[in-house]
Amino acid sequence: MPALLAPLFLAGFAAVAWPLLAHLAERERRDPVAFPSLMFLERTPTPITARRTLRDPWLFALRAAAIAALAFAFARPVLAPRASVLGADLRRRDLVVLLDRSFSMRANDRFARARSEVGKLIAAMSVGDRMTLVVFDRRARAVTPTTGDAAALRAALDSVALTDESTRLAPAVGMAQQLLAASDAPRKALVVVSDFQRSAWDLGPDVRLAAGTEVLPVDVSGSAVVTNHGVRAVELRRDRTSGVERAIVSARLANAGEAQRHVMATLEVGGRVVERKAVDLPRDAGATVTFTAITVPPDPVAARVALDADALAGDDAFHFVLERAPVIPVLLVGGRDAPFLPRALAVGDDPEFDVVARNAEGATAADLARARVVILADGALPAAGAQRLTQFVEQGGGLLVLLGERATPRSWPAGARALSPGALGAAIDRGGQGGAVLGMIDRQHPALSVFAGPHAGDLAAPRFYKYRPIDTTAGILARFDDGSVALTEHAVGAGRVLTFASTFDGLWNDLPRHAVFLPLVHQLVRHAAAYRPAPRARSIGESLRPADLAGAGRDASARWSVVAPSRARLSAGGPGGSATLELGEAGMYELRPGGAPEAKPVLVAANIAAPELDFTTFEPARLAHALLAAGEAAAPAAATSAPASIVEREAHQSTWWFLLVAVALLLCAETLVAWRAAAYVARME
């Protein structure tokens, strides 16, 4: 018995009464018929109730069938799943079931439905059937071998737990490909039980299953809308006006569903509630809550912003590490008469620039040792320090050279030849021509990428009256409008040297008077220092090397003891261990050097990946079409819809369309029969 999408239209069957009455009733003409004589006629009044026989039964049958088919078509019948994934079509075949256990499956009753669907599959297995249960989120794992043991499969199914991971289809489908390829069963099927999040789609265009494999997506997303609120991100604005570093925490909130009033947002630092604020969340929109500035402790501390819990609690809190702003120690050599550069560096707050200014002869080895970046403001390099500076760069330090009046070709000692990008020429004076501008700018380079976006500042606006040509063809980041090199980069050992062909003192150019000066200086120094901002929070699924974490030291081979948010103990690094740590839980990870349980931990905050919180889905049939060759996509496509929702099945079957065609054919036949009947009557008359 087919299901019906719009059963109320079955009331249309009552319309069959119309042709029934018409065919039962004797048609009665209003005008009397003149006839030569009534001597052979007998009075037969038109019966009102005793209508026993049908006139033109074939005509009636066609008309009734057309009306019934029309009513049935409007009722949108959905045929039962073609032996369904629960039925006989799965007999004697190997079945790979991909069960989604990602975070999004926590929404509503998706996971319960998914388990139920898989349970039905197990119950429907016949003798000879075998199944492999594979759970997947960002990764895929077979929780059972390929087996026909229903009890083992049920036990494995019961043990499957949800994770906080995001969803990726490619690993799961890849594992299914391997399992099905290894199967020698005459029939093979892949069942994907998932909510089919759009963000999960990462299949390449060439992913195909073997010919004859059935693909049966089982959509458990349901028709209910996911209502959920959560904290999506946290931003810090630093404040050092009082001499103490303070941070203003702002959290970006999201709400899917009806508007909510007076939802409490809590800022917790180090496990202690610092502030609670009530916020109103508009319907299907976002909001921002900003907390009062707090003093940033000297050591990193775990913090989080949490909302009142809802049904989907995993994203109700956003974890982050609250720590002081990073500092880049800078040694400024020369250029003390030009205030622009120190002032520009003093503005930075994330990271901060700790600038120590020295003249060319005053820079000491200690100054060099604390610095991560050295800026030669006028390109003059003392011969005594050339060797130390070269070693500094070779060991990973950064050097920014600004070629000024004293940066003559002879001002570079022989010991510092490696620091020079190339031969330096005599200064070119373009003042008489109104100055030069930057013609070519490599905005894709990390040192200049901040200017890549629209409205990011016009580097071509500043005028350069004098500059010193650099004879090089490698590492050119910018050129003047006459083709002369304006900015170069070249590596020396583990460090890098940036050379700018003019100055930042406002004499050789008007660059300091332009808005692009500040970001240009900051970006050049950051790039020279190889600075990478440490994220305050990471997403689940990210992998990190503990050795790369700030404050973790640089011993890549060290072993790390990790305490996960669930308090599970893990390890990373060390001999035989994985060098990376994969974040799989929402919360705060604590990393300590192996064998030092009392050491201060390095904190890593992990949160639900943003794509996983996007609950929009894709059409499950798309999966079948993607995995099957074009020629055989049609047949499995029909089957795939069977276990899906009734609406999807109806959409795939389009039974109503065939019924409408049948109605059209019936009406054509009715016309033909009626015409022939009328012709017969005409002949009789």
């Binding site: 048609r27 209003r30 018929v33 006839f35 030569p36 004589s37 009534l38 052979f40 037969t44 008359e685």
Partner: protein
């Protein structure tokens, strides 16, 4: 003999002019048969030949001898100038038409054709139109064909029909034996019709009965339940055709069978004519039945 091509009555109805119709039917009919124009109900033809010894002197034309003093024999002298009278029923029931041509219109064509045909046979033609009484009477005459056609033109279907009275009146006025052709739908019991014709048949007249019916009167092809109105009595009756059709057809069949049997036994020649049949074919079949064709060849 080539097969004649018959003329659709509907085509005749479109012509309208009775004389033209009659001429067309008769001339075409004769042309198709290649017959001598000397055909007809009256086969008498007089011929004189000189007397030769041995001839029966009873056949000598003494009048001619008186004028010419020569003996001639009247070798054959039949009933020339036979009275040919058409009895046309013009009651309201004759106005019925289920198709394109009414029974009366068909009967007019038939009567005109027969009159024209008889005129060519040198008969005297006359006509009597009647309902339940005489309507118009044109006594037979060799010169009355135009009058006959005029009466036919004017004839309209109205009133009731009853054969007995008008036929009795006609029979009372005719002393000379002749041919009477009754054209009617005969909505009377066969016994009553036979009884009505008794004065004619009893007087030795040659009586030909042509019952003209529309095909619908025999098949009753109606479908919708409705009220039927009698054209003559205006009586109305609710009828469900599907329920009475079988009975009606059977009753009509019995009526026609009784009519044929009764009239046959009363020395009347009976012919049933369907208004959908070609007029010349009716004429052709009728003459065949009358065996006039044999004498005409």
């Amino acid at each position: 003999m080539t097969a004649p091509s018959f003329i659709d009555p509907a085509a005749l109805a479109r012509i309208g002019d009775l004389e033209l119709v009659a001429r067309w039917v008769v001339e075409g009919f004769l042309s198709g048969l290649h017959r001598s124009p000397r055909l007809g109900f009256s086969t008498d033809f007089a011929e004189h030949r000189p007397y030769v010894p041995g001839d029966d002197i009873r056949h000598v034309d003494w009048r001619l001898y008186a004028r010419t003093e020569r003996l001639h024999l009247k070798t054959y002298e039949a009933d020339t100038n036979t009275d040919f009278t058409i009895l046309l029923d013009v009651s309201a029931s004759m106005g019925y038409a289920h198709g394109t041509i009414s029974k009366l219109a068909y009967a007019k064509f038939l009567a005109a054709t027969l009159a024209f045909f008889s005129q060519r046979q040198r008969d005297r033609v006359g006509i009597v139109t009647f309902g339940d009484d005489l309507v118009e009477v044109v006594p037979p005459s060799a010169r009355h064909l135009p009058h006959v056609l005029h009466v036919l033109e004017r004839a309209t279907a109205k009133g009731a029909s009853a054969l007995a009275r008008p036929i009795a009146q006609v029979a009372a006025t005719r002393r000379r034996r002749g041919v009477f052709v009754l054209v009617s739908d005969l909505y009377e019991p066969a016994a009553a019709v036979a009884s009505a014709l008794a004065p004619l048949t009893g007087a030795g007249h040659d009586v030909i009965v042509m019952q003209v019916l529309d095909r619908a009167e025999r098949s009753f092809p109606f479908d919708d339940a409705t009220t039927f109105r009698d054209l003559e009595s205006d009586v109305r009756m609710p009828v469900t055709p599907s329920r009475v059709r079988a009975g009606y057809v059977a009753a009509m069949g019995a009526h026609l069978a009784a009519m044929r049997a009764r009239l046959g036994s009363h020395r009347a020649d009976y012919t049933l004519i369907d208004t959908s049949e070609p007029l010349d074919r009716v004429l052709f079949e009728y003459l065949l039945r009358r065996e006039f064709l044999r004498t005409a060849t």
